[in-house]
Amino acid sequence: MAEMWISMGPQHPMTHGLWTLKVKIDGETIVDTIPDLGYIHRGVEKICESRDFTQITPYCDRLCYASANTWSHSYIYAAENLLEVEVPERAEYIRLIAVEIQRIASHLMWLGAYCPDIGNLTAFVYCLREREMMLDLLQELGGSRMHYNFPRIGGVKRDLPHGFAMRCRAKVKLFLQRIHEYEALLDESTIFLIRTQGVGYAKPEEMVNHGVTGPNLRAGGVNYDVRWAHPYSVYDELDWTPSVERSSVKGADCYDRYRVRLDEMKTSAELILQALDGIPGGAETFHESGDPALIAKAPARASDGQTGFHHFEDPRGESMFYLAGGGDERGKNPYRVSIRSPMFITIPYAAKCMIGYKIADVPAIMGSFDPCIGETDR
């Protein structure tokens, strides 16, 4: 049969965003792929050069629509590195809780989007049901449901609200029970197993060479979690281990990537519970906004030559921010902001992983890498 190119995207159910995957097929077999990115490039890095350091935070929220909180935190840590701020420990704990709730919500969004990709809409509804709980918690913290603008340079916007600890514990424990429903629906379904096992092998050494990070890399057996390898917040004070999947010789298949995310959701839930217990001052006390226990005074300007950098464990991989100070004459703006998006690096590799499989595996493989185009195109 003759080979032909199929253009999947920019409007296609498989894409989970706005991009194009050109697939060369021979019958049903994929022979070649070309990913085509950049449809929603907004120039966030350039916009940031004309904003002062506080104004940049909401822009970073908008980098990823599934996991806004982690991106604004990622920026905030880099900015604190640049401005040399010491953050109160209570604020670090609150940030950790917010980020881990966001991680669960993001992984639930991934699982909810992945199951319709291989033909089951029920899991989508189940996942969004639990994601709703997580969004309710984030709404209590940040006041919004999608773009929270929660962290501040030097601390957090406000303290845990009254009764938050109780509600958070209840919902997280409920979530830990409900996660068994997914395992019953997916792990015990032969069709799910034959659709995901043995499909989309990604070799660990190739992933390291390409710079793939996050759950996709840990699915291949490489124990690299920024929270664990280079602990930045109070992660080293909590008792946890990163979830790493023991993959086969051929590498990590879609099922490994599914398992590692499911385990990571459990880890995140336990981290939240631990953080609620160990937060200095107790989770029930409430400080007014601007209290020194929540936010430290930070300089508003960085002079020319100062640089700030931070790498952060995003739900999709290792996100990095690089800031150079001294943007305008008074040093209010950054001179340059550079963002390292994990998915921008993962998507070309995921497209390579598809070669040799069938067309029906395109959504199964691509979806398992959890693409988010907002951060990819920046």
Partner: protein
């Protein structure tokens, strides 16, 4: 006997036409032609009645698809119970019976209060689980959501017809006609009851399977003529899948015909109920055949997990991507018509047709037998058949809600490697049952009981046959046949 009740549609139609023809004797020159004229008009009227009945019956699956799948997906939600259709549930509970006059609604209130108090959904976390039954308006008798189907139909009807510019215009326009007309023709020989059928030739089973097999041709035409790569792949997949599943289906149906000793659908149904006591439904005689028939029929009507030809994740909408407006609406309706036909055929072949479960035994009961006898006199038997068909469709929806989509190569492998040999085994079993066991009278009760027990035990063993240790250790409990990676450099170059 289940064969005769007061709902004698054919008899009524024949009587009316006869009377009409009698009245016209002497007024027309063709009075000698009375007999064929009356027969012709009777058949014509029956065809019209069956068409109307089919169109009304298919509203059931379309409505069920919406309501039941919503309830399956809204696990732990407030609409999980079917009674939420008529009373509401969760934080919205409508006690409409209190408005009924003279307090006649009090017993209804007792029943619903009992259900709420004992089987209501747990709302340990009110903000999460109680979304509320938003669509509920209190008019349970109007089947909430049913009117949506008519709104959808109106929307399809007023849309513009836009064929793709480079499509093969003739084939593009002809393909929906092939699919829709053959789908309607399926219902020509499907009986809705002992006297509610359009036609009843001796070989209706053969015709049925032949007409079922024409639609894939139309699907292939549609996929090719749309001049779109997605539709082309969808049409190809459809052709491959339907040929792979047509053969096991035919062999299974042959097994039914052998067991029943006839190629007529009505006689197959009557074979399961024509003995006063000891009549046995085919599902207890050939459970394997029932499973095979159900699986192949799900594949034939292209529902999940075999909806590969229209896999929306990778092929957008498969072979009907380029159809819009009324053509899409009719294709979609024909999809449900085919599903309804599959459910009706399953009920007729395996679930005893229009017989109520244990009907004769219930009538023969000492005390309450009279009540049951009156019930079966009052309710036409067609109602039982329709209910069975809708229940089978409920099973289809359950399957759709719980399973994923199988890949093309896995579908074909499953069809050729497992279903075909199993259907041949089933044919052999049917031949043995017919020739070795059946003696023309009622079945000895030991035979269906033994077969059913063996089937249930086999099913349980197969379900439990998992490598628990492998599941715990490696999480790789199933053998997965892996695809060899294509290596573009090593391919044979056909142009050289």
């Amino acid at each position: 006997m289940a064969a005769d009740d007061w709902f004698d549609v054919r008899g009524a139609v024949a009587w009316v036409t006869e009377q009409t023809m009698d009245k016209t004797i002497g007024m027309t020159r063709f009075w000698e032609q009375k007999y064929w004229l009356s027969e012709f008009s009777a058949e014509f009227a029956m065809a019209g009645i069956i068409f109307v009945v089919t169109m009304l019956a298919v509203l059931g699956p379309v409505w069920m698809e919406r309501k039941l799948i919503a309830r399956l997906m809204d696990h732990r939600g407030s609409t999980i119970a079917i009674r939420s259709l008529w009373t509401g549930e969760g934080n919205i509970r409508v006690e409409w019976w209190k408005d009924l006059p003279f307090g006649i609604g009090v017993p209804i209130g007792w029943i619903n209060g009992f259900l709420w108090n004992n089987f209501g959904n747990e709302s340990s976390n009110p903000k999460v689980t109680q979304v509320g039954n938003r669509s509920y308006a209190g008019w349970w008798w109007a089947l909430p959501g049913m009117i949506n189907n008519f709104a959808d139909f109106t929307k399809f009807a007023i849309k513009e017809h836009m064929p793709p510019r480079d499509a093969d215009q003739v084939t593009y326009e002809v393909a929906p006609f092939i699919i829709i007309s053959t789908t309607l023709l399926v219902f020509a020989f499907i009986p809705y009851g002992p006297s509610l059928y359009a036609a009843n030739p001796d070989l209706s089973l053969v015709y049925m399977m032949a007409i079922f097999g024409i639609a894939p041709l139309g699907v292939f035409f549609a996929g090719w003529a749309s001049n779109n790569k997605y539709t082309l792949i969808g049409g190809m997949r459809s052709a491959a899948q339907l040929t792979a599943y047509e053969i096991p289906l035919l062999v299974t149906v042959l097994g039914i015909a052998v067991l029943s000793g006839t190629l007529n659908i009505i006689e197959i149904a009557e074979f399961q109920m024509n003995n006063t006591l000891g009549s046995v439904w085919n599902i207890f005689l050939m459970p394997l055949g029932a499973a095979l028939f159900l699986i192949t029929m799900i594949a034939e009507v292209e529902r999940t997990p075999f909806d590969m030809p229209e896999a929306e994740a990778e092929l957008v909408e498969g072979w009907w991507t380029e159809y819009g407006g009324m053509r899409w609406g009719l294709l979609f309706a024909s999809e449900y018509l085919r599903a309804l036909a599959a459910c009706l055929l399953f009920s007729l072949f395996f679930l005893g047709g229009w017989e109520f479960p244990f009907e004769d035994s219930l009538i023969a009961l000492p005390l309450v037998g009279g009540i049951f006898g009156a019930l079966f006199q009052v309710v036409p038997h067609s109602a039982w058949l329709l209910m069975k068909a809708w229940l089978v469709f409920g099973f289809f929806i359950w399957v759709r809600a719980s399973l994923h989509r199988v890949r093309t190569d896995q579908i074909l492998e499953f069809g050729w490697r497992y279903l075909l040999p199993l259907s041949v085994i089933q044919l052999g079993l049917s031949i043995w049952l017919r020739l070795g066991v059946y003696d023309g009278g009622p079945w000895p009760l030991v035979v269906p009981a033994l077969i059913t027990v063996v089937a249930v035990v086999l099913f349980v063993v197969l379900v439990l046959d998992e490598d628990e240790e492998a599941l715990a250790e490696q999480r790789r409990p199933y053998h997965v046949s892996e695809i060899n990676k294509a290596s573009p450099g090593a391919r044979i170059n056909l142009e050289d």
